[in-house]
């Protein structure tokens, strides 16, 4: 009886794994096959000569170049806002925060992480409505607003990664510096941060990937289908995820559909590369501390 139940459960788990693998292969294979054909310079630049498009001398029509530039600008801006804050908060939580405060802060971070991204976008949208009514009647949704909301969205990931990386370092490391007469600050800057650097960096990379792929936030805060290259941080812009979203609903020809597949593949390659980078860094970090453990 027990044997039969066990083999039944084993069969079910095999089924689950095989089903999942099949679905994933179907998804990626479909995308890879259809997207690979579309991957060429024309996908990015349309009929505009590549160099003229890159140096922004000629506008690009029928290409995803403006969307790529928009996404990169957006992600850079969001990182600029989120990374200093996230790292500082994570370090504070791991090393400085007194007990009761730490509990409340950790709760706030957890709640922030649980907020659906569309609500974050709605928050940005509400902010603009509020500004329109009160301080700045000409305020409108823009690149800066999207970057701000995206920064809020990835902030909890950054804080948690920094905190857990620092807390996972062996306690000998923390105590050695202090016992040699380092101040807590020196201990942090010269010992803990260099030791945990890879882990924190992988957290940063994951956060960047999260910011690059999110569609719901930018949908409410200023992305448009046709804006050309972003004109400034207060202007409208294009972005890759939104471009894919738009083409899925509005593609009228096979060429536009092919562009959608190309854009999806480019975005997937981007997030996959970011993920693999972060994964590699985390693995090397784990290995480094395992070896140290053996030595001690």
């Amino acid at each position: 009886m027990i044997k039969r139940l066990t083999s039944l459960a084993q069969a079910c788990s095999w089924l689950a794994v095989v089903t999942t693998l099949g679905l994933v292969l179907l998804l990626l294979g479909f995308l890879g096959l259809r997207g690979f054909d579309a991957l060429n310079p024309a996908l990015f630049f349309g009929k505009t000569p590549a160099w003229a498009a890159i140096t922004a001398r000629l506008p690009v029509w029928h290409g995803i170049w403006p969307a790529c530039v928009g996404t990169v600008t957006l992600v850079l801006l969001a990182s600029l806002l989120a990374i200093p804050l996230g790292l500082a908060s994570g370090i504070y939580l791991a090393s400085y925060a007194p007990g009761p405060w730490k509990r409340w802060f950790a709760l706030a971070v957890e709640l922030l992480a649980a907020i659906p991204s569309i609500v974050m976008g709605l928050f940005g949208f509400a902010l603009i409505l509020f500004l329109k009514k009160t301080l700045a009647p000409q305020a409108n949704t823009c690149l800066l607003l999207s970057a701000g909301c995206l920064a809020l969205l990835v902030l909890p990931y950054l804080i948690l990664m920094t905190q857990t990386t620092l807390e996972a370092l062996p306690s000998e490391l923390r105590l050695t510096g202090l016992s040699l007469g380092f101040t807590p600050w020196q201990n942090l800057v010269h010992i803990l941060l260099p030791a945990g650097g890879r882990g924190i960096l992988s957290g940063v990379i994951l956060a960047v990937g999260r910011a690059a792929e999110d569609t719901a936030v930018i949908l409410l805060t200023g992305v448009v289908a046709n804006a050309g290259l972003p004109s400034g941080i207060l202007g409208k812009y294009e972005a890759l995820p939104f471009h894919i979203f738009y083409l899925a609903a509005e593609a009228r020809s096979d060429a536009e559909l092919a562009q959608g597949f190309g854009a999806a593949l480019v975005l997937l390659l981007l997030t996959a590369a970011l993920f693999l980078g972060a994964y590699y860094l985390q693995n090397t970090l784990a290995k480094a501390w395992k070896q140290k453990d053996l030595l001690i």
Binding site: L31, L112, I115, A126, E213, A249
Partner: protein, 273 residues
């Protein structure tokens, strides 16, 4: 740190500020009603709330058993050497952008559903639930995995010493021991599925109605927010999206607070072992 607290409060404050006229102005009955006809002043969001709930529940119903199967596979039901590659792959899947699931679903799954059920347009509850379940699957696996991992270290040696095979350990020791954590993972997964916008917006059809069958079109609260902002309608319609945002915010917050409570209740007991 302070910023992170402040932003949670600011978000809640803003949503409440914009949703407040609904509660103060006596439009409560209009927002919480079953009719969505903004040009006749009827802005009920209840069909969307039902839509959100149904979609999240069905997606979880599909994804959770699969996730449990995969975790069982990794914890003794499957061969050991497959464990690392499998979990690595699942980790990788979390990095696939949501919009890509939506895109492939629009191109591939929607025509398929339309082909099998000619009376449907293909943009339906069923399509959205299938897509969404694949999207939340890696998250669910990681949530379950985290819960099992906590128990695994404590019971594995003991049960191996008692002569359990790895598969038996999972079924009769690990699983029952982690049952509370498994519930927690299910609820967290539900709150993730509830928060998704893009897949619902792309493939669920977005008709503001209570669906009668899996093939009916369905609209979620999240998609409702995106649609109303995009189509610039009446001020009462705007109020309805702030009410929707507030509902989503309160539900996810409540789920997290409750789970935190439950887990802090079990933690002291766990630390004794």
């Amino acid at each position: 740190m302070v910023i992170s607290c402040a932003s949670v409060l600011a978000i809640l404050g803003f949503l409440a500020y914009f949703a407040l006229p609904i509660f103060a102005g006596g439009h409560l009955g209009e927002i919480f009603s079953w009719e969505w006809r903004p040009f006749q002043g009827q802005c009920g969001i209840l069909p969307m709330a039902v839509g959100s709930f149904l979609l999240a529940v069905t997606a979880m119903g599909l994804a959770y058993p699969l996730g449990l199967g995969i975790c069982g596979f990794a914890h003794g039901l499957g061969p050991r050497w497959l464990r690392r590659p499998l979990l690595g792959l699942i980790h990788f899947l979390t990095s696939i952008p949501t919009v890509i699931y939506g895109f492939v679903s629009v191109i591939f799954l929607v025509p398929l559903v339309r082909g099998i059920f000619p009376e449907s347009t293909g943009y339906s509850w069923l399509t959205a639930a299938l897509t969404l379940s694949l999207m939340v699957l890696p998250t669910i696996v990681l949530l379950i995995q985290a819960q099992l991992q906590q128990v695994d270290g404590r019971v594995r040696l003991a049960s191996a010493a008692l002569g359990f095979s790895p598969a038996q350990t999972f079924l009769w020791v690990l699983g029952p021991q982690a049952s509370r954590g498994l519930w927690a993972a299910a609820v967290l997964g539900f709150s993730r599925a509830l928060g998704d916008t893009i897949i619902a917006l792309m493939v669920a059809g977005n008709a503001p109605q209570v669906p009668h069958s899996l093939l009916d079109s369905i609209r979620t609260l999240t998609a409702h927010i995106a649609l109303v902002v995009a189509t610039d309608s009446t001020s009462q319609a705007y109020q309805s999206i702030f009410a929707s945002g507030l509902i989503l915010f309160m539900v996810t917050t409540a789920i997290n607070l409750t789970l935190r409570r439950l887990q802090s209740g079990t933690r002291p007991a766990a630390s004794h072992d």
